[in-house]
Symmetry: C2
Subunit: 151 residues, 2 copies
DNA sequence: GTATATGCAAAATCTTTGCATTCCC
DNA sequence: GGGAATGCAAAGATTTTGCATATAC
């Protein structure tokens, strides 16, 4: 199963960073790998507390920040307050609807090249800054909202 | 003065969008044009309430959302909660320090071409989505934080 | 064994809302 | 004049903190 190796690779990254593998971190990681719904903190918490009682929001917050720091997930803006998250196994960017806030994954084969380009430009414009990753968001209107607004 | 015409052009955009020109909107717009410090809501409020008593946070929030909706400012993530804003007269992107959260403007001559490219890719990958603008952030370490972390 | 992570609940932040009043067009 | 914007304060969300307890390595 492909997901298992994604999971194993992620766990390896955690270990490389001397991060302890707790059950909470495992289930949150699994959730993020298996759900590409760009969940909010609360969505993750609600989904997991059923099977894993006495999980706390604080732990979910801690874990997500940790995962973001080491680059295996990225944070996305949420139209109505709060933020959302997305597992970042295959690098990609996001299209975000300005009207409803819907987030769509844009898988782009040359993302790595684009990422490299953006880091290059940044280093050229500001040699004092050492870039390590980039984040791209494209804003516009999703199909449903286009139709709604044209009525 | 260059800033005057930037201001006039922005006001024209507001009028095009049938947005009323209130004194509050004028001073907030002027502040954003003249300060490229990526201010938070509170920074703007604090700076303006001195000269403009009984300005309310609610109005600052409303105004910033409005300006963002019509695309004359963009919202940036803030490391420690909340968000920051930047006037978007000349299209550019941002370098953000992962360690201290510092935001640096990256003026890039071919930004428009890059923006166009990103919208093109998005449309190709998801024909149902109609893109209108893009946002690019490059993460890494600023000079100060590199030095700090290497000690 | 020890440093680290967790849960809990309270505190601190940040943002929105409702409504009476004011004001732009 | 009328619809829209504002200020205010309260409510609602979201996120962080402190500390005792539990646990990964």
């Amino acid at each position: 199963m492909e997901d298992t190796s994604v999971y194993d690779r992620s766990i390896a990254i955690l270990k490389q960073n001397h991060i302890r593998i707790t059950p909470q971190r495992q289930i949150i990681l699994k959730y993020l790998i298996n759900h590409h719904n760009h969940p909010s903190v609360e969505t993750i918490y609600k989904a997991l507390e059923k099977d894993f009682s006495n999980l706390s929001m604080a732990t979910v917050y801690n874990t997500l920040r940790l995962f973001e720091d080491i680059g295996i997930i990225i944070q996305l803006p949420n139209k109505d307050g709060g933020v959302r998250f997305d597992f970042f196994g295959t690098p990609h960017f996001h299209a975000i609807c300005e009207h409803c806030g819907k987030i769509i994954d844009i898988q782009y084969p040359n993302y790595n090249q684009l990422d490299h380009e953006l880091q290059d430009i940044t280093k050229k414009q500001d040699p004092d800054f050492t870039p390590s990753r980039s984040k791209v968001e494209v804003y516009g209107l999703c199909k449903q909202c286009q139709q709604k607004l044209n009525q």
